[in-house]
Symmetry: C2
Subunit: 347 residues, 2 copies
């Protein structure tokens, strides 16, 4: 059974997933990847994964061939799906049972599938699958927040090379989301406007840090980016929830996402990256036990964060929480935007 | 000129060190390390670094041979030493000039020097050098906090293989230190006791997570460790300041630190690691502009954090601030403590 433990000084929760039972020798350099024929995510190997919880299929039977996108429970889950959330403590130390969901979205039967070059029709199926799983997992009142993320490349933490995303449902709202909700509520209280909408408008007006925009989406190089060539994709219409895009907005979002991913390939030689979908926490209405963070959900403005993994975290970052970014976000935007749109001042 | 930029939503500061002028092509795989004869930190190559700001020498001239430990400014500093701290803003965006110090402590003339096997006499010189630089930099009233850290191995962010530590002096107190000070002050207000002293006492009584102890220092496997085999070295006597160790305490601290570093070598095959010295922020007394965090300094209990770099940060961690640790801290302590002291229950 996993545990969620609270650091008594930093007031920070950590998942202790000791079920994985790893010993020191498990952290030696990793063995070479298995050949594609042994890849558990490739078409024809459906029996090598736990039974699917969802798939985009054209009438074929579950756990057989004939799927476009397939969702299975993670074989080594960080959290346990079965059980109640119970709280415990000894002296200064607090913990709770590590209840949650941990699913894998196998994005294509093809081992060579890529987000940056996929047909829009297939990307719509992937995004639709994210939406279906978010909607389904939100029905479970134990889960307060759900995150969808994608690790591309071994240096970004992908343990299997077959393209996939992951979904984790948590029994607590994470600190980063709490701070985003707090800032959005505070701004709305003063101005009756969304802080993200205001930021997007200010950045489009400037527009040194705009990487790409169309009618539905904008890609920004964040003003205080922690990493070189970090980017964020925002919908231009205010919406707290990733699952509420219209079909046109979905196409606009995919165009924006694929633009910046293609620029990563050409400008940064296909770097490893992490992609995170930041959507509002669950609006659960538990009788007698309202969820404070859920009530702030409508203040949120969903977005997708992209971090290419080009630099290494070191002692300074771990010890202070401060980051050193060696590339000015304006310069990063200059390199990433379409060549014909690059202002003459960018070297 | 570097800048400190504030993220308008996350209220988080980032150092934009664009002086380094890095282009996308600078992030391609790194070239092989230079041969030792070209190492700028090796004895005989003193002219290849900026002039030293401090050295442990036996009467020899600065920037010549004959040193045991040598401190030089970082050739590619993240922060600028010259100038005033000025604050700026446009709409939602805030920044200040990136003023600070960035020094390199070359720990030995020998390229093959190691912390885990160094003679105690030499380690005393290294620790004394940390203390001298902390004391000297604290005289500069622009600096509110100073961190000493050590990146061991390329995967831990060390860009040169010659053993060295770094010192960064900041014009702001970092968030992690603020939270530690806040928790310490809150605990003291309720109990008139130090939260770290209480934690150390509770952990020694338990003692599942004690890796090592002597009369002066204790090494703990933190209850909510974010990383497998993470460790923290605490002085057993309450003290807010790393520079205030007695000679006996220095020897006890070195014994404790070297114990756990030797166990990393034997149990984890000499992994890359980050070492961070967490000591209280500066007690500056600026007329008319008191420093709130400085007034909390005495509540702090200095310590050293150690993170072996065995796992990779991925989308879940970046997107939530939550960490997944696959090794229970009690199991980690079992593997790291001296073999003869391992309780029978540890497999």
């Amino acid at each position: 059974m996993s545990e969620l433990r609270r650091d008594p000084v930093l007031d920070r929760w950590v998942i202790i997933a000791a079920d994985r039972g790893r010993r020191p020798s498990d952290f030696k350099p990793e063995p070479p990847a298995p050949p594609p024929s042994a890849c558990p995510f490739c078409v024809g190997n459906e029996a090598k994964t736990p039974p699917e919880v969802y798939a985009v299929r054209d009438g074929t039977l579950p756990n057989t061939r004939g799927w476009d996108v397939r969702v299975v429970p993670n074989k080594f889950p960080a959290l346990t799906i079965e059980g109640d959330i119970t709280h415990h403590g000894i002296g200064l130390l607090d913990w709770m049972t590590g209840i949650g969901a941990h699913e894998v979205v196998i994005e294509s039967p093809e081992h060579s599938f890529r987000f940056d070059t996929a047909p829009v029709e297939h990307m719509l199926k992937v995004i639709g699958t994210f939406g279906q799983r978010l909607t389904d997992l939100r029905r479970d009142q134990r889960f307060r927040h759900i995150i969808v993320f994608r690790n591309w490349g071994a240096d970004a933490g992908a343990s299997l090379s077959h393209p996939h995303s992951q979904i984790i449902a948590l029994s607590v709202v994470p600190d980063i989301m709490k701070q985003k909700l707090r800032a959005a509520r505070e701004h709305f209280r003063h101005k009756e406007r969304c802080i993200f909408c205001d930021l997007i408008e200010q950045e489009i007006a400037l527009p040194d840090r705009v990487i790409f925009k169309n009618d539905h989406a904008v890609v920004l190089s964040p003003f205080a980016a922690r990493f070189p060539f970090e980017a964020a994709v925002f919908p231009r219409r205010h919406s707290h929830d990733f699952t509420l895009m219209t079909p046109d907005e979905q196409v606009g979002f995919i165009e924006a996402l694929q633009f910046v991913l293609q620029r990563y390939v050409t400008e940064l030689s296909d770097p490893p990256y992490n992609l995170m979908v930041q959507t509002a926490p669950n609006l659960v209405a538990r009788p007698g036990r309202p969820d404070y963070w859920g009530t702030l959900a409508f203040d949120f403005h969903w977005h997708v964060e992209l971090i290419p993994r080009l630099t290494k975290m070191a002692g300074f970052e771990w010890g202070t929480g401060f980051f050193i970014n060696p590339v000015a976000p304006e310069d990063a935007a200059g390199f990433l935007r379409a060549p014909t749109e690059a202002p003459a001042t960018v070297h």
